[in-house]
Each structure stands twice: as structure tokens, then as C-alpha cells.
Amino acid sequence: MNVAIPFSAQLINLFASVILLLGFAMLAQRRVLQLINLFALQGLTLCLSTVVAAVTTGQSHLYWSAALTLVLKAILLPWILHRLVRRLQVKGEVESLINIPTTMLVGIGLVIIAFNVALPISQLSHTITRGTLGIALATVMLAFLMMITRQKAITQVVGFLAMENGLFLAATSATYGMPMVVELGIALDVLVGVIILGVFFFQIRDQFDSLDIRHMERLKDS
């Protein structure tokens, strides 16, 4: 079984696994600030894995992607979120709708599904990092789960951003990154999105006196 896997691929696999693990950690994390830190850590890991991919393949645009990830996902967005949390004085605890072990089990189920979906496809890839496609999909799904189970607006946004992380991992792992124009566009969208959400948080808080989205359940079709 020991077909030698290049060292860089081992590193990327390791980082991908760490990203997945952080996805679970975020799912289990009750505190908002810790959650944001975990998100920043995930961004950092993503950046490292992109750097490794860049060094291995010599694709210069991957360096740019890595730099973009570092600045945006590991520094700027967590910083904005931190500020928001402090300005909005969000209470430390975030409670989740179903208890954490159940969420974890659902998460494991999602990971299995994601791996199953991705396995036949990653077999087709010729990149050294093909295996991470499944992890990327799993990260997206975990983030999705987090958005469903959480009740605080900020947590949902972190889930949304974690989803972007997973997508970015998919882009770097399956294809060594999208064309630069597209990546810039995506980064811009994410940044603008978070800024708009920041504005939005204040509006929500002014109206509802809380960032708990349970208050926002009036629009329903009975």
C-alpha cells in the first residue's frame, strides 16, 4: 500500500484534515469569540495549505490566493467580526438548537455523505491534492449544518464564511485555484457581504434589541 505520496501532498492532506477538524470544533463551540478565533485559525490553515500547493506547483497565482486568504479570512474578517461582537455586546454564550453530541453525529453523517460523493470524482483528478475535495465538501456541509442549528445572527455569518472556506479549499485542491479574476471577484463579494452584514447587525439590533434570530420568525405562511 505504500505508494510514496509526495511530502507536499502529505502536508496538504494534513492541513485539509485540520480544516475539517476545525469545522467540527466550530460546530461544537458555544462561545462567539472563540468561534471567531476558530474561524481565523481555519483561514490560516487554508492559507498554509494554499502556500504549500503554490510552492509545489509553482503556480504564481496561488501565492496571490494565499495572500488574499491570509489578509481576508485570517485577519480582516475575524477582526471585523471581533469588533462587531464588542460593539454589539453580544452575550458570550451561543446556544444551539439541538444538543452538541447529536449535532456531532449528524456532522459525521454529513462527512460520510460528502466523502462518498467526492470519492469517485477525486479519483479522476490528476492533482496531488485530489483527496481533499471530499474534505472541502464536508467542510461546506458542516458549515451549512452550523448555519441551520445556530440561532445568533453572528454565528450564522461565521457559518456562511466557513462555507466559503470550504469552497476555497475545493478550488485549490481540485483544480489549483480558479482563474485570478474570479478569485478576486469572490473575495470582493465576501468582503462587501460582511460589511453589509455589519451594517445589518446594527439595524437588526436596533429593531429587535437582540441578535437572536428566534425573534425573526414572524414572516411565515401559516
Binding site: 503556480q59 460523493v117 469517485p120 470524482i121 479522476l124 483528478s125 490528476h126 465538501l137 461546506v140 451549512f144 448555519m147 445572527a153 450564522q156 456562511f160 462555507m163 466559503e164 469552497l167 475545493a170 478550488a171 481540485a174 483544480t175 489549483y176 480558479m178 482563474p179 485570478m180 479574476v181 474570479v182 471577484g185 469572490i186 470582493l188 463579494d189 462587501v192 457581504g193 453589509i196 452584514l197 451594517v199 445589518f200 439595524q203 437588526i204 436596533d206 429593531q207 429587535f208 434570530i213 425573534h215 425573526m216 420568525e217 414572524r218 414572516l219 405562511d221 401559516s222
Partner: protein
């Protein structure tokens, strides 16, 4: 003179300009003039494409062919009429104290940027940029939906953002998978996301990847189209946002999202043997149609009801494109046009009606025909048109879809008829007393803009009676491209 460059340039610059100058007396007119300029450029571009065939712009980054030029023209036109409509409408809202000058400024600049993102989404050749533009279109409209800053509008905007954000993330994953499939054929070049390159090699794309990619793309962009079960944001956003925003969301944004799906379907069809993509779209379309039809009857809010009607029609159109083939595609394109024109006309009428009566609840809106006969008739005729009554154009397209479905997919006919019947009963039963009946509403400070309503309805009527030959050629050309 390059019409294309002007067309993209005007909304971008005027959006910036409107931000800078702020809310002045002439700002609404600037908005209208800019939209008019965009429309003229789009019209010029259309003439050019019809005469000279498809072309590229900015290298290969933008690509305009008979399919998207049709959407471009439609978008620019509805954009123009909506801006005309929104002039007096927004002034009235301000008089009512619902909006401040700062928010009107936000509205106008975002409106132009929204037009810009949609035009970019329609004309780009790069599927990645298409995604970026779609996401940007969401972002520009989120703040428009929450323009009133009421709890309900904030909730609607939040739902809109989160659901569309999740949906659009799925679409991004689909795009990544598409790139992954393309890159195996086209190599590590920047061209692997260019639609024109992809379409040449679509037969070589890996079917397994393309199937998965198309599922994600359909679910992702489908969220924005309003396909069930991810349609929840749509009624809220339509009901709680300002009416001009509802009109452009229904009339344009849904179309643009559907256009994105169509572009991807062409690739998926080429790569996957069998009718995979088509069947998937037919399934989603039918389900959406049914869900929307049955929700229609339970609505109390007039804008909400027409939002569900939009979902219903989007389901029908998706079903039509899912069937595929020249006739169904033709019918689908025609129905998209008709729906877009009719639904925005209805929203214009509804907007003025709700402004006059000060409520969106249908049971409190009565006797529109007495308050303002034009609005009353506008709403009535628009409703008849959207329900597919002859001689309006919607009848023609619905009839084509139905007969084609009967011939090729007879199993779907009962479902289609049931859904359309339920929708008819629900909408007509509710609109009728709104138009006729007793009332005591007062005059508005600014006279409503009636022209757009009847302009749209006139076109719909005309297209129902007579489709000019060049338009038929055009539709045929576009339908042929869709395969």
C-alpha cells in the same frame, strides 16, 4: 461607438454619481435618464447583434449572442419603466414619512448598481464572473429589501441574504466542479471557465463530474430563481421591500438566475448522455409549480400573493426548459418575456394601490376602480394577463407549453392543469373584490406613473395577438442555441 461598453458604463457611473449628489429634486430624473441611456444602448446592441451575429467584448471576457441579448434588452427595458414608476412612488413614500433622503439616495445608487450587476451577469462569458455578478446582485438588493427598516423588512432581508448566500455557495461549488471538469480538457489556462470554449468541448467533459456540478448549479442558482423548496426568501423579500424592488426582483433577477441555469444546462446536456439535466429541471419545475399554486390560495398580503405567482411561473418556465427541444425552449423564452413584463406591470399597479389605501392586506383594499380607474383597470388586466387569459401573450406561451407537455410528457399534464387551475381560482378570487367594491381612500400627493403599467400590458397584449417576424426569428435562434 460601442453600444456594449456604453451599456455597462452608464449604470456604473450613474450609480456612483447618484451616491455623490445625494437626494436632490432632479435625482429621480437622473435615475430615469440613466436607465433610458442604458436602454438605448441595449437597443443599439440588440440591433447590432441581430444584424451581425454574436460578438465578443473585452477580449473574450464578454460574449453576446442572440440568447443573452434578448435578456439584455428585456432587462434594460424593465429597468427603464421601473425607474419611471419609482419616481412618483418613492416621492409618495417620502411624503408618508416611510423613507428619508439618505435612504432614497441608497435606493437610487443601489438600483443602478443592481442593473449593472445584472447586465454583467447576462453578458459575461466567464462562468466564474457570472457567479460573482449574481452574488453582487444579491448584495445590492439586500439593503434595498430592508429599506424601510421595519422588523419585518429586516427579517425578510436577513432571510434573503442567508438563503441566497447558502444557495449561491452551492452554485460556486458547482462552478468549481465545472472548472475541474473543464480543466481536464482545456488545461490550466484562464479559458477553462469561458463558456464559448466550454461549449466547443462539451462532449469531452467528464459526465460524472458534470452531473454533480449541474446538480449544485441548479440548486444554487435555483434558490435565486425561487425553485421550491428553497423559495422561502422570495415572498418575504417581495412583500417587505419597496414595490419597485419587488418589480425588478420578480421581473429581472429571477430571469437572470434562470439564464445562468440555462447556460449551464447547455454544457451539461452536451456532456451527460440522456436527459439528466432536463429531467432534473422538469422535476424541480413541477414541484415548484405545485407548491406555489397551493400557497397562493392562503395569502393575505397582495405583494406576497404575486410573489408566489412569480414562483409559480418560474416553475412553469423551468419545466418548459427542462422538456427541451425547439418548441419548448421557444415557449419558455416567450413565457419569460411575458411574465417579466406582466409581473412588473402588476407590481406597479399594486404599488400605487397599496400606497393609496395604505395597506398591503388584500381584505382592506377595495374598489380600486373608484379611486383611480386606471390603476384599477391596470391591476385587473394585468391579473387577467398573468393568469393566461387570451388574448394576452401569457396565454400563447402557456398554451404552447401545455400542448407540448401533453404531446411529449403526458404524465405531467394533470399536474400542470391542476396547478394552473388552483392558481387561477386563488388569484382571481382575491383580485376581483380589490378592483371592484366600495372604498373611501384619499388622493396621493404625487400623481402615480401609469404609463409603465399600460406600456407593459400593451406589449404583452400585442405579443399575444401578433409576434413580429424578427422577434420570432430571434426566439427561434435563441431556442436553437439551447438545444
Amino acid at each position: 461607438m460601442d453600444f456594449f461598453v456604453i451599456m455597462l458604463f452608464i449604470p456604473l457611473v450613474s450609480g456612483a454619481l447618484l451616491t455623490v449628489v445625494g437626494e436632490r429634486e432632479w435625482a429621480p430624473n437622473l435615475n430615469i435618464i440613466a436607465s433610458f441611456g442604458t436602454f438605448l444602448a441595449a437597443a443599439g446592441l440588440t440591433v447590432e447583434i441581430v444584424a451581425n451575429g454574436p460578438r465578443f467584448a473585452f477580449g473574450e471576457h464578454f460574449f453576446i449572442d442572440s440568447l443573452n441579448v434578448f435578456f439584455v434588452a428585456l432587462t434594460a427595458f424593465v429597468g427603464l419603466t421601473t425607474s419611471i414608476f419609482s419616481g412618483p412612488y418613492m416621492r409618495n413614500e417620502r411624503e408618508h414619512g416611510k423613507l428619508t433622503a439618505a435612504r432614497l439616495r441608497l435606493y437610487k445608487s443601489m438600483y443602478q448598481l443592481f442593473m449593472f450587476t445584472m447586465l454583467v451577469a447576462l453578458t459575461t462569458n466567464n462562468l466564474g464572473i457570472l457567479w460573482v455578478a449574481m452574488e453582487a446582485a444579491t448584495l445590492t438588493t439586500v439593503l434595498l429589501v430592508s429599506l424601510y427598516r421595519t422588523p419585518a423588512s429586516l427579517e425578510a432581508a436577513w432571510k434573503y441574504f442567508i438563503l441566497c448566500g447558502v444557495g449561491i455557495a452551492q452554485a460556486l461549488f458547482g462552478t468549481i466542479l465545472l472548472y475541474f471538469a473543464a480543466e481536464r480538457v482545456l488545461g490550466q489556462t484562464g479559458n477553462a471557465l469561458l463558456w464559448t470554449h466550454l461549449v466547443e468541448v462539451k462532449g469531452q467533459l467528464e459526465p460524472a463530474i458534470m452531473a454533480l456540478s449541474f446538480i449544485f448549479l441548479l440548486v444554487g442558482y435555483g434558490t435565486k430563481v425561487g425553485l421550491a423548496p428553497l423559495h422561502n426568501w422570495l415572498p418575504d423579500a417581495h412583500a417587505e421591500g419597496p414595490t419597485p424592488v419587488s418589480a425588478v426582483l420578480s421581473g429581472l433577477l429571477l430571469n437572470v438566475a434562470l439564464y445562468a441555469i440555462l447556460r449551464c444546462k447547455v454544457l451539461a446536456d452536451g456532456a451527460i448522455p440522456g436527459e439528466f439535466a432536463g429531467n432534473l429541471m422538469m422535476g424541480f419545475g413541477l414541484f415548484t409549480l405545485l407548491v406555489a399554486a397551493f400557497f397562493l390560495s392562503r395569502q393575505k398580503d397582495v405583494k406576497r400573493m404575486f410573489a408566489y405567482s412569480s414562483i409559480e411561473h418560474m416553475g412553469l418556465i423551468t419545466f418548459a426548459f427542462g422538456m427541451g427541444g425547439a418548441v419548448a425552449n421557444f415557449a419558455g423564452l416567450l413565457h419569460m418575456t411575458m411574465h417579466s413584463l406582466t409581473k412588473s406591470a402588476i407590481f406597479f399597479a399594486v404599488g400605487h394601490a397599496t400606497q393609496k389605501t395604505g395597506t398591503q392586506l388584500m381584505e382592506d383594499i377595495r374598489g380600486l376602480i373608484r379611486i383611480n380607474p386606471l390603476i384599477g383597470w391596470g391591476l385587473m388586466l394585468g391579473t387577467l394577463a398573468i393568469l393566461g387569459m387570451p388574448p394576452f401573450g401569457v396565454f400563447a406561451s402557456e398554451f404552447m407549453i401545455l400542448t407540448y407537455a401533453m404531446k411529449h410528457h403526458p404524465w405531467a399534464t394533470p399536474v400542470l392543469l391542476l396547478a394552473l387551475g388552483v392558481a387561477f381560482a386563488a388569484i382571481f378570487g382575491k383580485v376581483q373584490p380589490m378592483v371592484f367594491g366600495e372604498t373611501e381612500a384619499k388622493r396621493l400627493p404625487h400623481a402615480p406613473a401609469i404609463t409603465p403599467v399600460f406600456l407593459h400590458l400593451g406589449i404583452v397584449l400585442m405579443l399575444g395577438l401578433y409576434i413580429p417576424p424578427y422577434l420570432t426569428r430571434w426566439f427561434h435562434e435563441a431556442a436553437r442555441m439551447l438545444g
